[in-house]
Structures are given as structure tokens and as C-alpha cells.
Amino acid sequence: MSYTKRNDGRKFDETRAIEAKAGVIKRADGSAYFKIGKTVAYAAVYGPREIHPKFLQNPKNGKLRCFYNMMPFSSIGERVRPGANRRAKEIAMVTEKALLPVVDISKSPNSVIDVFIELPQTDAGTRCAGICAASMALADAGISMNGMVAAVSIGRVDDKLVVDLDYSEESYEDGTVADIPIAVVSRTEEISLLQMDGELSRDDLKKAIEMAKKACSKIDKIQRDALKKKYEVKNG
């Protein structure tokens, strides 16, 4: 049996509906909201600010510090224990590495830029939604960046490559599933995040990367439009 039709009726190269907004958290220096399908991510950026503990300060470069947190009620079914667990720490680390190629940390030596990603509702693809939100929040905070990052997960469900898996596809039971979150830097099309869960052939991986680049360029446009909308001139 093969996967001929997607569970929610999308095309194979179609992402879920995306909603993005910048400047949603008042007290943060920069913030953003990114919703893709049922997955919702909030990102708040504070800084550059003084780094504590002090021994972490680096006189050559600033530091980018990310935090990832799924809220207790965010998941389907069981309560998620909030706070840093092994998974959250790993995702925070890969988020940091996905964003670092665009953030110019040399502009703020001895200081830190803190990025907090909170997920009030999840339906697969949280690290990608988190990266998209964080990239927007960093731009909104006026941080010097040489580009923006968009991320999407590409997957293989049974024999089909699909863009932006949701939870029902990630847990597809009639065949094997591979899940590859990919983050792409805008303009240069560099890949700053590539993880793989499951098995995939070399050709399929190449195809998946091409699909990710296409999907990310669409997400990139949504991110930029949302940032510009914050400063749109309102008539009257």
C-alpha cells in the first residue's frame, strides 16, 4: 500500500497554512509569533544584554543563547513536563546553530542575545516553527543580521516525499516514515539545519533538500511581510 493522498488533503509539496506576526510581546526587545497548521511558536528576544554568569563573556564575540520550551498543555494527550529536558536542550542547541550563520555576534562583544521559544500548541514541526519565529524575533529586535532563516520539515511517508509533516503523518502506521527538518538561509540558500529521523535514500535526500529550499523561500516571504506589516503606515 502506498501513501497516495495526504491525511488533510494537502498537495505533497504544500505546507500547512502559515500565520506570522512580529512584535507580539511588549516587554521583549523583539518578538514574533509563527503558526504553521496547528503548531504555534512564540519567540522573544532580549538583548544584547549583560551576560551572566560573567565567565561566559567573550571579548571577541557576543553570545547567542536559545531556549526551547513546550508548554505543559501543548501536546496531544499527556502533560509535557516543562523546562529543559534532554530533547529541549538538543533542540535549543540546533536552533542556536541554525541561527548563528545569519546573526552578526561580533557587533556585541561581552554580551548575550537571549532567544526564548515557547510552544503553546504543537502538532509536529516544532523546531522548524521555533526557528522561523526566532529569526523574525531577532530581526524585530534590531539585531544586525546578514539574512533570515526559514525552516521546514520534509518527510518521506511510505514512498512519497512530503513537505511539512503533521503529527498524523509523523506517526503514520501503514509504512515507514522519515522526517528531516531543514533550515535554509535566505538569499544564499545555505543549509543551517539538517537532521534526519528514519531512513532515506541518497536521491530522496537530494530531492528533499530541493523541496525544502522551495518551501523555505515561500516561508521567507511570509516572515518578511509580517515584519514589514508592523511598520506599515496606517491611513487615517
Binding site: 545569519v102 556585541s108 554580551s111 538561509v185 538569499r187
Partner: protein, 236 residues
Amino acid sequence: MGKLLVEDKTIVTPGEELAEGMDFLPAEGTFRDKDKIISSGLGLVNINGRVIKTIPVAGRYAPKKGDVIIAKVTNILMSGWILDIDSAYSAVLSVKEAKDFIRRDADLTKYYNIGDYIVTDVVMVTSQRLVDASMKGPGMRKLIGGRIIKVNTHKVPRIIGKKGSMVSMIKNATGCNILVGQNGLVWINGSPENEIIVVKTIKKIEQEAHIGGLTDRIKTFLEKETNKKINIEKVE
């Protein structure tokens, strides 16, 4: 021949291409990648002949030599004071740079105590962002009474206005004493009712700074709030 890809005074996002060709020159907030000029932050494009720059609309205060700022004393050293300048870095005001001569064994709290706000001048910023402040020069003093509010540091030029026209309009309309620091701290001193009007006005300027016809809107706003007619002195 080069080609402009954006219009003057539009909002651009990080990584957006601004111009093509080698006859354009990148200035602040932009960089060159091969023959293209790219924005390195969220801001308003400013095209001046062949020079292209972006003026940031968000971000924290970055200390700059020659800025007059409002700072809070946070600690006292053997040889001076540590100042919180609402930035990622703190400034140091040395005893030598105080208003008048201070003897070696003097009690420094007599001059500026912890928690005091002062108007001070940034005299030096090193590459590692060590900031030196000075009280020498006209207008540098300790602030007594009044209230302090924080605004976006990039909106300070709009609050001050051309040759101080905006701030003097608010001063005349409300009779309050106002000092605007480059770091986004504003000191207001007057009667409580008038202070509130000033706070409201400044918040309004901060929100609508990027929309044209600001002076007229603020004028009508002030007239409504104070029930007085305001005559603007034309500034050439």
C-alpha cells in the same frame, strides 16, 4: 550601470537586496555581496546619491562617543561610579571627570549616590565596549525630582525634532522641564498633571514616528490635552 531595487524610505528586512551594481556604495546597516548591496538589519532605506544606508527602527542603545545620555548610578568604586546606561554595557564615571575637584579621601556618595540619575556625556567607547562618561561641559548634572521614562532609542531624534522643535513645543505647551537622553531615557519635571500629558505625548511620538505629518498631529494632540492654542515657531 547599477540599478536600485528598493525605493527610498521604505522598510527593509535583513538580507534584502537593495541595489545592484558597483556604482552604489554600502554605508551603515548595509553590506556588499559581490555586485549587490544587502541590508543587514530591519530599517528604513536612506538613499543619498550613490550611498545607501538603512536607519534602524529597533534595537537597544549602542553607546557612541559624544552622546549625551541619562544614566543611573548603580555602584560606587574607589575611583568613580558605575552607571547603568540602558544598554548591554555599563559606563564608568571617573572621579576626575566629575563636575568639580574631589579630594582623594572624599565620600563619593555625597556627590552621586546609588540610584541617582545623572545627565552625562559619553567621552569614549573602546572596541570592547568599555564606556567612559564625563560630567565636564554645560548641562551635565544630577537630576533631582521629576520622573524618568524609557523610549526606543531610535525614536529619540523624532522626539527632539529638527533643532529641538518638537521637544520645545512640548515644553512650551505643558511648562514641564524635559531632558531627552540619546539612550532613550527621558526625564520630565513639572506638575503631576502636566507630566502625564508629556508622557502621553512622548508615547504617541514613539508609536507614530515613522508616519509623516508628525508635528501637526502632535500639535493638535497637545492643544486638545492642554486646552491651549499653540504657535509653532518656524525652523529654517
